[in-house]
Symmetry: C2
Subunit: 339 residues, 2 copies
């Protein structure tokens, strides 16, 4: 039985770009279990763009990550000790375990741990396609874009955990799915493995006109729905090709996460095209998670929803892997393997 | 019986700011009535910001106004001759008569003329509070902003035909109504006559910070709904004070009508605040006009919905009056009196 928990704390806030110095690895003794508590050995830690927001103190939808505490993060793992009748040793669970090898939680606190079935779905998928990123894609697509068959749906960061789900779910609804990704390898994957109709390597387009022309070619009938993970020039280019009554689901704007200005150049297009632009946070719509997870779980189990993972090894690798994620160095869902 | 119709044609398109030279007054003989036709003497011509868009060839929601034809525009008037059983001499009607003294129409064409009752509502009001501008305000407020009692609703161009309706309808729904208008006189009118809770003279605020601070003061509980007629810096300032789950109804962006850049500086606020930003064109929602007109007509007839008119005299005055409207020189609904 392990007695030491290795954890990563946020110890300072980035001024612009974050660095590994914002984080610190510490070793903490594991306490004895009290009644009702459950000890989970985290197998995988999920790294997600939203964490960049939590590192800053700027006003946002969530409280900032407190300094000198374990970084927030989704985890999947296995119960290794339990003084709670609802959880048995060996149970596989998903939760918000944070950047650490073990989590000790009150198993009676509602929703803190969810048991998951790994018969047909791999444990790590509960952090990706059948977890928060998958539900995020599902929500923005089905609740905001709400596409009809035959419409064209575009998504940025298309090879990522969220973007990949958006495009595949759109295809399943009879839409044309067009991705934007960084680099030919990712674009090839998006089209050949995920089944998108087209994918644009945004790195090949240095200005708005060029990117807008590429979108015109990839979307001959214009754009009816756009799932936004990036912001900046990509958003402007999409808006220039947006159809009347098109919908934009605003999920992330990673282009501005370090404080870069990312103005929307032509907001008048919202009026001219009678567009709807709507921001959302998936954790505010928990009532829809069961419906979303059912579709996503079935699609993964039957091989209809594909995904890729980039896995870094060991808790100490998390800061470096996270910085890479913010620069698009990962390919698909970024995970840290802890056992 | 008059035999000459004086008309104003669009004869050239503006490069940036429009001028009176874009228009030309012509005299045209009135033809004999054919069977089914109705001759209307237009009493008032409505001047509206949307006409600026029609003067340009740029892609928009409507076809450009063709050159060398009578300018498009809403009118109210009286039937002076009729070869149509549905219309009698003396009937008061509203229609899209254009910038001219008479209109000769096929009375059988559905919706081309609507008879109106001037017992309790003045004829000119059917071009303003009980017409397209009133319905525009009603639609954006009730269908997009959809405010709850106690919420704060902000509207730009608050002393205008649309803005005045938005604020008064918001007040009737138990909201705090805050206007933005140009100059102290308009602001006084908005608060003292229309009953808004506050009105900000945007001309007193030359930068974003100053305007944003003024909004903070006028909206101590933040902003839940914004009805946008203007765009540019005002939109940015409102977004900086927007609450979580706030809604923006995009109706007009007069700040950019001459091609000025009007970027939205902080689109990430849409995400951070989970906002909904939606553009609309009221003529695409005809199914709701009867409901809107019923509320608006009753409110005007009972003195609960107030408005002001700026009336220029004679068809020849229309171009100058229109250019003044675009610069905010009017006070309330801009009309041209034709008889």
């Amino acid at each position: 039985m392990a007695t030491i928990n290795r954890q990563i704390l946020l110890v300072s806030r980035p001024q612009a770009e974050p660095s590994v110095d914002n984080f610190k690895l510490v070793e903490t003794p594991l306490p004895e279990l009290a009644d009702g508590q459950v000890l989970v050995r985290n197998h995988y830690l999920s790294l997600d763009p939203y964490m960049r927001g939590r590192m800053s103190e700027a006003k946002s939808y969530a409280q900032p990550q407190p300094l000198n505490e374990v970084m927030i993060g989704g985890t999947v793992g296995e119960v290794v000790a339990s003084k709670n009748a609802h959880f048995a040793v060996g149970d596989k669970v998903v939760g918000m375990g944070g950047w650490q090898e073990f989590q000790l939680v009150d198993g009676n606190q509602r929703g803190v741990l969810q048991k998951v079935d790994t018969t047909h779905v791999p444990l790590s998928a509960y952090l990706g396609a059948v977890g928060m990123p998958g539900v995020t894609g599902w929500y923005g697509l089905t609740q905001i874009i709400a596409p009809k068959a035959g419409e064209t749906v575009v998504v940025s960061a298309a090879s990522g955990a969220v973007g990949g789900a958006v495009g595949q779910l759109a295809k399943a609804r009879g839409c044309r799915a067009v991705g934007l990704a960084g680099g030919q390898e990712k674009c090839d994957y998006v089209v050949k493995e995920l089944g998108f109709d087209a994918c644009i390597d945004y790195k090949q387009h240095k200005d708005l006109k060029s990117l807008s022309m590429a979108l015109k070619e990839a979307c001959p009938n214009g754009i009816d729905g756009y799932f936004e993970n990036v912001g900046g020039m990509i958003l402007d280019a999409v808006m220039m090709r947006a159809n009347a009554f098109s919908r934009i689901a605003m999920c992330g704007m990673i282009a501005g996460y370090n404080g870069e200005p990312i103005p929307m150049q032509y907001p008048q297009l919202i009026l001219v095209n009678r567009m709807k632009v709507e921001g959302f946070i998936v954790s505010e719509h928990m009532e829809l998670w069961p419906q979303a997870l059912k579709e996503l779980g079935t699609a993964v189990a039957t091989g209809k929803l594909k995904y890729r993972e980039t896995v870094s090894q060991g808790i100490a690798s998390a800061p470096e892997a996270f910085l890479g994620l913010l620069k698009g160095k990962n390919f698909g869902k970024q995970l840290v393997k802890l056992v």
